[in-house]
Symmetry: C2
Subunit: 164 residues, 2 copies
């Protein structure tokens, strides 16, 4: 929400001497403009908030969605493999899976070949639900497109392709 605030007067610091206004809408950022990290962080906040809102009716957050998607595309995966792939701590994945298993979207099945590990699968209910989630996620993606433009979204995906 914060990042969608009006952004009309880009800057005012640096060159104008002193005693700046105490008005939030007139605050200059200076060196922050030109920092990729700052822009990316603000955008990431916006995009996650839109995702959470768009999938609010089904109560699915970005990380939960990514876990379901990866399991759906790679049934039988171990917890370690999912954690590694998504860059999630395995300790945290335990709790994420506890929740998804409680909601009957995911099953942990004891592996026959390595009795330490679990093979992860979607339940039938999980498959159905994921289809709906994907539909809503596509709607979210259209929101992104509406916010930054079709061309810009394409370029963004291209630029960041090898971070996925």
């Amino acid at each position: 929400m914060t990042s969608s605030a009006a952004r009309t007067s880009p800057r005012n610091g640096a060159g104008n001497g002193k005693a700046p206004r105490n008005d939030a809408d007139e605050v200059g950022l200076d060196a922050l403009v030109g920092h990729a990290g700052y822009a990316v962080r603000r955008f990431q906040i916006w995009i996650f908030q839109d995702f959470i809102k768009t999938l609010g009716a089904v109560d699915i957050r970005p990380t939960q969605y990514s876990v379901l998607t990866v399991i759906g595309a790679n049934p039988g995966l171990s917890q370690m493999a999912v954690a590694k792939r998504l860059g999630i701590e395995r300790a945290r994945l335990v709790h994420l899976l506890d929740s998804l298993e409680q909601r009957k979207y995911v099953k942990r099945i004891k592996s026959k070949t390595d009795r330490r590990s679990h093979a992860l699968h979607l339940t039938a209910q999980g498959e159905t639900a994921l289809a709906r989630f994907k539909h809503l996620a596509a709607e979210h993606e259209r929101n992104v497109e509406a916010r930054i433009g079709r061309e810009n979204r394409q370029q963004l995906l291209r630029i960041l392709a090898d971070f996925t």
Copy 2:
């Protein structure tokens, strides 16, 4: 760190029937590829980690840097104004400023005009330190450029300009 893992074989799920390999480097993402939010999140993690590492010697994190930069460019700002501008909760800014004040980078000066509020200023030491931080931040920015390319970084800044 996780996001810099080898990314050679893009996918393998969806079309190949069943019983996929249990090997983390071969896990397909499917629907996750094509989600701007996922790419942006992974990139943001990488970029923040590089920032933290590059400014590790001076022990300054991205949020601390943004607070110092905004105060440096707009001396006399109130806490509310800084919080609003950076999208930080004012409750959280209190603790951030406590830490920066303890380290002698920032002063809280009672406002004469509105005795509820504090006018924020860098100390002389804060000014000197910030100059060094900016130098290191520029080094970080060059790391970003090296990672995604000069052209791509420019485009990214252009695309996300109105989120800053």
